[in-house]
C-alpha cells in the first residue's frame, strides 16, 4: 500500500456514521464527516435510555461523540451536506454546502448567554417539538461540536430603523416579538436590559422609533411606546431581584437625580461601584418627578423605578446641597469619579414689559409646585406662553386645576410646535385653544396683579439657525387678551456656575463642555451629561447620556481610557426592492390605538390619561412588526450585544467547497412515521396522544421536563402504548417491520414503571419481536414488572371523561375492551430520512420500494455504485447494535475499496 493519505467522506453523524468514521480513522484513513444539523449524535442521542440494558443513551454515546471531536483524523463539518457528487477516477469529487452558522466556532465558548437573551422562541427539534429552543441555540448540552448556531431562515423584512433611532438602542423588534407571542415578562426584561426607566419611557418618551418605523411606509408605524408601557404594566418591578455583582470598592458621585443622573447611577451600581446621588430637591427624579404632570406619568410608577435603583445599592441623598462651589469641591475630593447631571432647571425670561407682575409664573416653577402638591387653581383665565412639551403640560395641568379658560400662545404655527404631536392633539381634545403666530409684548396689571396681556401677530420669515422659520412680528396686529394668570414656558437654562470651583470648562449658554463620545469634561474623573450639557432635551436622550457616562466612568475606574461607542447606524428606510417585495406580502393593518380615559372624566383630576393595552390588543399590535414576521432569527442583535467574545456574525455566508474522496459511507439515518393520517388514533387532535420519540424526550433528563414524566404539569398514571403504528401496515405504505418499536415500547414501559411506581401500563401488540441479545429477557422482565400486554391493535382512541379511552379487541380473550388512559403513546415506525431522495439522486443510488437505499443481498452495505457504502437505517430499519455492526461493516468495505484503489 502506498503512503498516500486516503480520504473518505462519511455523510451523517448518527451512531452509524460515528462508528464508521471512528473505525476508519483508527485504521489511518482521513475522514470528513458531514452532519446536516448543528450536532452529531443523530437519533440515538435523543433517546433517554437504550434497550435492553437501560443504560443512558447520553452516557454511552456521548463519549463516542467526544472521540469524534478528539480524533485528529476526523474533520467534522456540521451544518454541511453534499450537494453534488461526481465520479473521479475510482473516487469521487463532492461538492459540499456548508451552511452558515452565524457564530464563529473558534470564538464561541458555548456559555449560552446568547440563547438566554434571544427573543425568538422556536420548537426544539432535539426535543421533537415538546420543548422550546431559541433562534440562537445549542441543541443539547452534550452537542458536538458544542457551539451555538443561529437559525436564520430568511432575511429580516425591514431595517429595524427603530433600534437605530433609539438613543439607548432598545431592542424593539425583540420585545415586540416577545409581546406578540405572549411572553410579556421576557419583553420587560429585554427592555430593561438597555433602559433603567421602562415605565417612564413607556409613557412619556417622544418615541423616535415610531417616527422611523418602516411599517409606517405601508400603513401606520407600530405603537412602540404604548407596547412598552404594556410590557411594563404586565410586570411587577417589585419582583425584580438585584443581581449579585462583584463590588469594586470604587466610589462615584452623581450630582442630580434626574433621568441622566439616575440612569448613570443604575448602570454604575450594576458594575459594582458604590454610587451616591446628590439631589437638591426633596425627592429624586428631577424633571420626571417635578415637571411631568401626574396624568402623564403617575409618581407611583416613577417611584418604583427609583426604588429599584436604590435596591441596587445606590445611595440617593435628597435635599443635599450639591449645587454650590464648596460642595462640588468636596464631592470631587471624596469620590473616585463624579458625574454632573444637574439638568436645566431655570426657566427663561420672556423679556417683555410687566413680566414681573404677580400672576405671571415660570412654567417649570408652576409644574414643580403642582407636582409638590399645590393644587390651587392658578387663575380663571390662564394663558400659557410657549409651544413645547412644558407649555402643553402647563396648559393641561391648569385645565385640571379648574381654570375656566386656558389658552396657549405660540409664536409659530402648529407645524413648528416642538411639543409631541399626540400631546397637542390631547390638549386640543381637552378644550384648550391655541393662538398660533402670536406672542405677548406687554402685560398690564390691575390691583398689582396681571389682568391683561397684549400680544402681537407674527408671520414666518427666514429660517433661523435651528432650521425653523423665524417668526417676525406683524406691525399693527396687536391685540389684548384678558388674563388673570400667565404661565411662561419658553425653554430652560442650565445652572453651572458652581462648577468653576473644580475647574470644569463651560460652553455657550453655561452648558458643560464635554467630549461628545465619552461624556468626559476637561477635568479628569469628572463627567457630565443630560440637559446640563445639551440644554433642555428629551428624557431618553438624558438616559442615554447617563448610560454613556456610566460606561466611560467604569472604563476610567478600570484604568482604561474611556473610548466612545461607535454610533449606531442611521435609521434606514426600506430600499425600493424591499418595499416592493413587501407590498404584496403585508396586509394592510391599522395601528391599534391604546385606549384613553374619556375627556370629560379626565380633565377633572390628574388620573392617568392612557389606559394601556389589553393583552390581546398588545399581542395583535406587536404582531404587526415587520421584523418579527420572519421565521427564525429576526436579527435583533441581542445575542451580538450579549456575546462577550464577539462570536456572533450575522454577515456570515454559506460556503460551497469541492473535495475529493476515495470512498463514501452514507449514514443518512431515518425519520419516523407521522401518525397524523391515522385519524382514529387521535394524534394531533387529542391531547395526550403522542409518539414514542416524543415520549422519549419527555422522559429524558435533557428533555423539556428534566426527566419528569408530566402531562400538562400533572403526572399521568395510566399509560397505553400502541405498537406497529406505521409498520406492518399496507395502509401507511409500509409492509416492513420497523424492528425497533417492540423493544423501545418495552423500554418505555419499564422507564414508566421505574419512575411512577403506581402506574398502570398497557401495551397493544401484534407480535412482540424481542429478537436481539438480551431482548427476550428484557421483554419478560417488563411483563413481570406489571405491564399488561394486549394482543391486538386498538381500533380507535377517543376522548373520555378527563382521560382518553382506548377501544381495543383483545385477541387473546376475544373481548372488546375499553381502557382508560392518561397518555397514549404510539410506537411509530421507521421511514427513510427525508434527505435520502436528494442524496440518492446526486449519487445515482437505487432505492427500494419504501425509499431506503437498495443494497447488495449478501454485502449489506454495498450500494449499486462502487465506492459508495451505506450503513445504519439508510438501508432499512436497524436497532442500535445492528447499526453499530453495519457501521463497522460499511467501514470495512470502504476500507477495502480505498485500499484496493491505492494498490492498483
Amino acid at each position: 500500500m502506498d503512503e498516500r493519505e486516503r480520504q473518505v467522506l462519511v455523510v451523517g453523524g448518527g451512531i452509524g456514521g460515528i462508528t464508521a468514521a471512528l473505525e476508519l480513522a483508527s485504521c489511518g484513513i482521513n475522514v470528513t464527516m458531514l452532519e446536516e444539523g448543528p450536532s452529531i449524535g443523530g437519533r440515538m442521542i435523543q433517546l433517554d435510555k437504550t434497550f435492553p440494558t437501560l443504560d443512558c443513551s447520553t452516557c454511552t454515546l456521548s463519549p463516542k461523540m467526544v472521540e469524534v471531536a478528539l480524533q485528529p483524523k476526523i474533520d467534522l463539518l456540521s451544518w454541511a451536506k453534499p450537494v453534488a457528487v461526481a465520479k473521479k477516477g475510482r473516487g469521487f469529487s463532492v461538492t459540499i454546502l456548508k451552511k452558515s452558522r452565524f457564530v464563529d466556532m473558534k470564538k464561541c465558548t458555548a456559555c449560552g448567554v446568547c440563547s438566554e437573551g434571544c427573543p425568538v422562541v422556536m420548537k426544539s427539534e432535539f426535543n421533537m417539538g415538546t420543548g422550546p429552543r431559541k433562534a440562537v441555540y445549542i441543541p443539547f448540552p452534550q452537542a458536538i461540536p458544542n457551539k451555538a448556531s443561529i437559525d436564520k431562515r430568511e432575511e429580516r423584512l425591514c431595517n429595524a430603523a427603530c433600534m437605530d433611532a433609539c438613543p439607548v438602542g432598545t431592542n424593539v423588534p425583540g420585545y415586540l416579538k416577545h409581546i406578540s407571542e405572549g411572553r410579556f415578562a421576557d419583553a420587560y426584561r429585554l427592555i430593561r436590559a438597555t433602559n433603567p426607566f421602562p415605565s417612564v419611557c413607556g409613557r412619556v418618551c417622544y418615541a423616535p422609533c415610531e417616527r422611523v418605523c418602516n411599517r409606517g411606509e405601508f400603513d401606520e408605524p407600530l405603537a412602540v411606546r404604548d407596547l412598552k408601557r404594556f410590557a411594563v404594566d404586565s410586570f411587577d418591578i417589585a419582583c425584580l431581584e438585584a443581581p449579585k455583582v462583584q463590588r469594586t470598592g470604587r466610589k462615584v458621585a452623581v450630582i442630580g437625580a434626574g433621568p441622566a443622573g439616575l440612569a448613570c447611577a443604575h448602570d454604575l451600581a450594576l458594575e459594582g461601584h458604590d454610587v451616591t446621588v446628590y439631589e437638591a430637591l426633596p425627592e429624586p427624579g428631577g424633571m420626571l418627578r417635578f415637571a411631568i404632570p401626574e396624568y402623564r406619568l403617575p409618581k407611583e410608577e416613577l417611584k418604583k423605578e427609583i426604588d429599584y435603583i436604590r435596591k441596587l445599592g445606590v445611595d440617593i441623598r435628597c435635599g443635599a446641597e450639591a449645587g454650590s462651589a464648596a460642595a462640588a469641591g468636596e464631592i470631587r475630593g471624596s469620590h473616585d469619579a463624579v458625574f454632573v447631571a444637574t439638568g436645566a432647571p431655570k426657566g427663561l425670561p420672556l423679556g417683555v414689559d410687566g413680566e414681573d407682575l404677580p400672576g405671571i409664573v415660570d412654567g417649570i416653577r408652576f409644574l414643580r409646585g403642582v407636582n409638590s402638591g399645590e393644587h390651587a387653581s392658578p387663575g380663571r383665565q390662564v394663558a400659557v406662553i410657549g409651544g413645547g412639551n412644558t407649555a402643553v403640560d402647563c396648559a393641561r395641568t391648569a385645565k385640571r386645576l379648574g381654570s375656566d379658560s386656558v389658552r396657549l400662545v405660540y409664536r409659530r404655527t402648529r407645524e413648528e410646535m416642538p411639543a409631541a404631536a399626540e400631546e397637542v392633539e390631547a390638549l386640543l381634545h381637552e378644550g384648550i385653544e391655541i393662538d398660533f403666530l402670536a406672542a405677548p409684548v406687554r402685560f398690564e396689571g390691575v390691583g398689582g396683579k396681571v389682568a391683561k396681556m397684549e400680544c402681537v401677530r407674527m408671520e414666518l420669515g427666514e429660517p433661523d439657525e435651528s432650521g425653523r422659520r423665524r417668526p417676525v412680528p406683524k406691525a399693527g396686529s396687536e391685540f389684548t387678551v384678558p388674563v388673570d394668570c400667565v404661565i411662561t414656558a419658553l425653554g430652560q437654562a442650565v445652572e453651572t456656575s458652581f462648577l468653576s470651583s473644580i475647574g470644569v470648562a463651560l460652553g455657550k449658554g453655561g452648558v458643560i463642555a464635554i467630549d461628545p463620545a465619552t461624556g468626559a469634561t476637561n477635568v479628569e474623573g469628572v463627567f457630565a451629561g443630560g440637559d446640563v450639557v445639551t440644554g433642555p432635551a428629551y428624557v431618553i436622550d438624558a438616559i442615554a447620556a447617563g448610560k454613556k457616562a456610566a460606561r466611560s466612568i467604569s472604563a476610567y475606574l478600570r484604568g482604561e481610557v474611556p473610548a466612545g461607542e461607535a454610533r449606531r447606524g442611521e435609521p434606514q428606510k426600506l430600499s425600493a426592492e424591499m418595499h416592493s417585495a413587501l407590498t404584496g406580502r403585508i396586509a394592510h393593518e391599522r395601528r391599534i390605538a391604546m385606549p384613553e380615559e374619556p375627556v370629560g372624566e379626565r380633565v377633572g383630576d390628574f388620573r392617568e390619561v392612557g389606559l394601556g393595552y389589553s393583552p390581546d390588543a398588545a399581542m395583535a399590535e406587536a404582531g404587526r412588526c415587520l421584523a418579527g414576521k420572519v421565521e427564525g432569527c429576526i436579527e435583533c442583535g441581542e445575542c451580538e450585544r450579549r456575546c462577550e467574545v464577539k462570536a456572533i456574525d450575522y454577515r456570515m455566508k454559506d460556503e460551497i467547497v469541492e473535495m475529493d474522496f476515495d470512498g463514501i459511507v452514507l449514514a443518512p439515518g431515518f425519520d419516523l412515521y407521522d401518525p397524523t393520517e391515522k385519524r382514529e388514533l387521535g394524534y394531533g387532535t387529542l391531547p395526550g396522544v403522542i409518539t414514542g420519540i416524543e415520549f422519549e424526550r419527555i422522559c429524558s433528563v435533557t428533555g423539556p421536563t428534566g426527566g419528569d414524566i408530566l402531562l400538562n404539569g400533572r403526572q399521568p398514571k395510566r399509560f397505553y402504548f400502541i405498537q406497529c403504528v406505521g409498520s406492518r401496515d399496507r395502509q401507511s405504505g409500509a409492509r416492513f417491520c420497523s424492528r425497533v418499536c417492540c423493544m423501545y415500547t418495552a423500554k418505555h414501559a419499564s422507564i414508566v414503571r421505574d419512575r411512577i411506581k403506581d402506574a398502570e401500563i398497557y401495551v397493544s401488540y401484534i407480535d412482540v419481536r424481542a429478537y436481539g441479545k438480551g431482548y427476550e429477557e428484557f421483554y419478560k422482565t417488563t411483563q413481570e414488572n406489571g405491564t399488561f400486554y394486549i394482543r391486538g391493535i386498538p381500533g380507535e382512541v377517543v376522548k373520555g371523561k378527563d382521560c382518553l379511552v382506548v377501544r381495543v379487541e383483545d385477541m387473546l380473550s376475544g373481548e372488546l375492551r375499553e381502557i382508560e388512559a392518561d397518555l397514549v403513546i404510539l410506537a411509530t415506525g421507521v421511514r427513510p430520512h427525508k434527505g435520502i431522495e436528494d442524496l440518492c439522486g446526486m449519487m445515482s443510488l437505487e432505492r427500494d420500494e419504501y425509499g431506503f437505499i437498495k443494497v447488495d443481498a449478501i454485502a449489506p452495505s454495498k450500494t449499486n455504485v462502487e465506492g459508495i457504502f451505506v450503513c445504519g437505517m439508510g438501508s432499512g430499519p436497524k436497532d442500535v447494535p445492528d447499526t453499530v455492526a453495519s457501521g463497522g461493516e460499511a467501514a470495512s468495505r470502504c476500507m477495502e475499496y480505498v485500499s484496493e484503489g491505492s494498490t492498483s
Binding site: T53, L54, D55, D754
Partner: protein, 135 residues
Amino acid sequence: MEEKMEKNPEIIGFACSFCTFKASEMAGSLRMKYPEGVKLIQVPCSSRVDPAFVIKAIFEGADGVFVAGCHPGDCHFIKGNFYTRRKIAALKELFAAFGMKEKLRLFWVSAAEARRFVEKVTEFYNDIKDRKNAG
C-alpha cells in the same frame, strides 16, 4: 467490634475488576437496590486482596468484609482466584478461631450476574444486621 454501633452495618467488599465489579456496575445500571452500607473497593483481581486489608477493615470499623471475584476457573488472570480461595479460606479459619467467622465472606460473581451480586451482598448485610440487633 466491641464499639457501640447505632448505625447500620458497614460492609466493605473487595471486588475484582473483571467480574464482580462489572456485575456491580450492571446491578447499578439495572437499578437494582441494595443497602447503602455496602461499599466496594475495586481490585484488578481478587488475588490482589491481602488478608491484611480484611483485618484492617475490621479493625477500622467494618462490620463485615467480603471478597468477591470471578468463579473459580473463570479468572481473567487465569488462576488468581484459586489463590484467593486458599488465602481467604485460611483467613476465615483465623476469624473462626476468634469467634468472628460471620464477619468475612467469600463469593464468586461473574460479570453477568448482577442479580447474584445483589442477592449476595444483601444477604450478607442482613445477616450482619440481624446479628447486631440480636446483640
